[in-house]
């Protein structure tokens, strides 16, 4: 039975687990469906983000967190890509919701969003896709979306919608700490872990406040700029990692610009708990000659990145 002691908030959770997924200890998880209203205990169908990090820490491992944009080249490829990433050992998967004006994204992810929106991808379609595929995945999903689509749907409705299909985490890059109060409240209510970002330009006391408020993990942006592959990783990251780790025991994952196994290895060596790879993955899928080619290249690339990590 998949029961997890989470926070003491009242939670209504649907527990749905596949016969074919297993705990890391190789014991099968029995499928069951139940609703619970117990105040201190909630059932979750699969392991959440914080828990994944806890387990990895115990095993001395570093999380591999790929990012792909939903709907590029199309939603059925995204479904397959999620399964491929999961089976190749991804520990958490970030799924991007395409947006018309992605200010934090560089040309690769911008192009992916444009292609995806051009095919008519919208949040409802992504939710339907997730409903089908999440039960088949062993690793938790974190959605990556800009703020306006959340606002338009209504923060509470948005959180409950994504929570109902089994999403565990949320990253919203264009909401500064001061504006996250409503988001955090609704996220907690629906059992969504709201990841917050800190960057090389964030002053120390602000970083501390961000770290305090973050759930799931802390997203450390590796460089000053938008998403996009870079030739090398700045060694400022090492100092930043150290600073954050002095402040908190929460897991820290580094993202933006990481595109090679060497980068991943370097960052893991500096003490990161997780490594996020986005544009490099999106580029493979989006620029492949065919979806099948893209998935194959994705599989190879994922394996090479995963093997570079402890």
């Amino acid at each position: 039975m998949a029961i997890a002691l989470t926070s003491s908030f009242l939670q209504l959770k649907k527990c749905e687990v596949d016969f074919h997924t297993f705990y890391p200890s190789k014991k099968p998880i029995v499928s069951l469906r139940r609703y619970t209203t117990m105040a201190a205990i909630s059932t979750t169908k699969s392991v959440g983000i914080s828990e994944t990090f806890n387990r990895l820490k115990r095993e001395g491992k570093v999380a591999f967190i790929p990012y792909i944009t939903a709907g590029d080249p199309d939603l059925s490829t995204t479904t397959e890509a999620l399964k491929v990433l999961d089976s190749c050992g991804s520990d958490i998967i970030e799924l991007g919701v395409p947006y018309s004006d992605p200010l934090a994204d560089g040309p690769v992810i911008q192009a992916a969003a444009t292609r995806s929106l051009g095919r008519g991808t919208n949040l409802d379609a992504i939710i339907s896709m997730l409903k089908e595929v999440v039960p088949q995945l062993s690793c938790p999903i974190a959605l990556f979306t800009y703020y306006n689509p959340i606002l338009k749907r209504g923060t509470g409705r948005f959180m409950s919608t994504i929570s109902n299909v089994g999403v565990h985490g949320l990253v919203v890059p264009d909401v500064p700490l001061e504006e996250t109060t409503a988001l955090r409240m609704e996220a907690k209510k629906h059992g969504i872990e709201l990841v917050l970002l800190t960057t090389p330009t964030t002053p120390t006391d602000r970083m501390k406040a961000i770290v305090e408020a973050a759930e799931g993990f802390i997203y450390l942006v590796s460089s000053v700029g938008v998403t996009g592959t870079r030739a090398s990783v700045s060694d400022k990251v090492q100092a930043l990692l150290r600073e954050i780790k002095e402040t908190t025991t929460k897991p820290v994952a580094v993202g933006f610009g990481i595109s090679k196994p060497e980068h991943a290895k370097l960052i893991a060596g500096w003490g990161a708990d997780g490594v996020i790879v986005g544009s490099a993955m999106v580029k493979l899928l989006g620029e492949a000659k065919s979806p099948q080619d893209g998935l194959r290249e994705l599989e190879n690339f994922t394996k090479s990145l995963k093997s570079a990590l402890p």
């Binding site: 749907r153 264009d174 001061e178 330009t201």
Partner: protein, 493 residues
């Protein structure tokens, strides 16, 4: 409505200028600032700010000490006038804010600090005053448009208000954009940035920026939509001659603006992102509005000189809001002055092809601010349309959104055809060619005129000149002329 207005105006002001240590002296400070009894009653309505403890570094512009010290003309403030200022989180009511990637926050904070510094720096203010006077050619005239007035009076039974034009088209560069560009270029130079990044729609702001950068010896990179570059080729050539690098971006102005923002995030240490208009994350809208508000200040003085009073109504086109706020801001506290904003109606509001954000948009977050936005059911941005490129923006400045929300300003829509007709009308009746954007402001006069008091005065912001728009006007004339001929031929007699 008046008391609700003043309450919210005063409370948002109060929030802007209070530091945590001074919170205790709030009531005394507010009472000192007010001189009228009515204002004192309102001071009691002031609510406690509930924003973050981080205080705004914008200086208190309303203390009595400012009035008595020697200041350049554009810092004069009447103690009786209350205006909107953002609170410490950069919000006007619920609008505004800093909805940007965390990476930019430190940069925005620095910009806010620098802005606060220059407002108090006498050398900066003197240098700016000299630039406004000798480089831009301020102050711009307040022109009595007699024939235009006669035209509308003749449709109104021979009576009505007098129409005055604030001639921002006579500024160097041909538009009001230079007021902001020169000031921000000076700020960029002051903080040691060598490169200025910006985006432009019609090219007016691009030319203003390129000129200002040439004057101050800065490098300039301008992002412009590829299709706009084709349409405004001579502007692009001029920008290049002025020493700027123009980069084309796929899409529309909003995409060029997004690209400029992304570029800023990537080059924060070496470059300065110049916002051309009153949008973006705090403090950008306030920065732009402050430098544009010289328009309104001059208008107040000129109105006093010309007819010994205030205007009864102010009319300005609203694409993003810089020229409108520039004219309106000075008069926000004067509840007897109507503030009329005119948006682009494109093919008409029902057609779905327009840029009337305040009429048809909903509140959302765009380019770093909470504001009205043209969006679809998923929260994705809708591409706006207007014959006037400078009006093609799916959102609007947060301060204007606030003015709409509190009912202080009224907003209308004018279609492409009405704007094109207005362009021709002003040409024929006054010999003035206003840009297609400004023509939208002229386009509302037909509907507005009957609602104005007899013998009243209306000031229309002629925000830019329109010689570059001539070919667009001709294309439309030819098309419509041809259409009329075809219709005449095919309609059965």
């Amino acid at each position: 409505m008046a008391s609700k207005l003043h309450g919210s105006v005063v409370s948002s002001q109060k929030n802007a200028f209070v530091s945590s240590s001074e919170k205790l002296t709030d009531k005394r400070r507010v009472a000192k600032m007010q001189t009228s009894g009515r204002a004192q009653a309102q001071a009691a309505e002031v609510t406690t700010p509930q924003e973050s403890s981080r205080t705004s570094k914008l200086p208190e512009l309303m203390t009595s000490s400012l009035v008595f010290s020697k200041r350049p003309f554009f810092l004069e403030r009447s103690l009786q006038v209350q205006r909107t200022q953002p609170n410490s989180a950069g919000k006007f009511g619920k609008f505004g804010g800093k909805f940007v990637a965390e990476t930019l926050i430190a940069c925005l904070d620095q910009l806010e600090a620098v802005f606060a510094e220059v407002l108090h720096d006498e050398d900066f203010q003197e240098e700016l005053e000299e630039a406004l006077r000798d480089y831009i050619g301020r102050e711009t005239p307040l022109y009595h448009a007699r024939r235009l007035t006669e035209f509308y009076k003749s449709k109104n039974g021979g009576e009505g208000a007098e129409i005055f034009l604030k001639r921002e088209d006579l500024c160097h560069g041909g538009s009001h954009k230079m007021n902001n560009a020169i000031a921000q270029a000076m700020i960029a130079k002051r903080i040691g940035r060598k490169l200025v990044l910006t985006a432009t729609a019609s090219g007016h702001h691009g030319i203003a920026t390129a000129s200002a950068c040439a004057k101050l010896g800065l490098d300039c990179k301008i992002f412009m939509a590829a299709k706009d570059m084709e349409q405004q080729l001579s502007n692009v050539q001029l920008m290049t001659l002025l020493g700027a690098q123009v980069e084309g971006v796929d899409g529309q102005f909003k995409d060029a603006a997004s690209e400029a923002l992304r570029s800023w995030v990537g080059k924060m240490e070496e470059s300065y992102h110049m916002t051309g208009t009153a949008v973006g994350p705090h403090p950008c809208p306030t920065l732009v509005r402050h430098f544009q508000s010289v328009i309104g200040r001059e208008t107040r003085r000129q109105a006093l000189e010309k007819w010994g009073g205030k205007p009864d109504a102010l009319v300005a086109c609203v694409g993003t809001g810089s020229n409108a706020l520039g004219l309106f801001h000075e008069f926000i506290g004067d509840s007897d002055v109507r503030l009329v904003g005119v948006e682009a109606g494109g093919f008409g509001l029902e057609s779905g092809r327009h840029a009337s954000t305040l009429s048809k948009g909903e509140v959302g977050v765009y380019h770093g601010a909470m504001t009205y936005l043209l969006q679809d059911g998923d929260g994705q941005t809708i591409e706006p349309y207007s014959v006037a490129v400078g009006m093609q923006y799916p959102a609007v400045g947060p301060e204007l959104s606030f003015l709409k929300e509190i009912g202080r300003a009224e907003f209308y829509s004018v279609t492409d055809q009405e704007a094109l007709d207005a362009y021709e009308r002003v040409c024929r009746l006054e010999g003035i060619y206003a840009s297609l954007e400004a023509s939208h402001a002229f386009g509302i006069l037909g509907k507005l005129f009957p609602t104005l008091p007899k013998g009243g005065k209306v000031v229309v912001n002629c925000s830019a000149r329109g010689d570059e728009d001539v070919d667009i006007v001709y294309k439309h004339k030819l098309f419509h002329g041809a259409l009329k001929r075809t219709m005449a031929q095919t309609t059965p007699q």
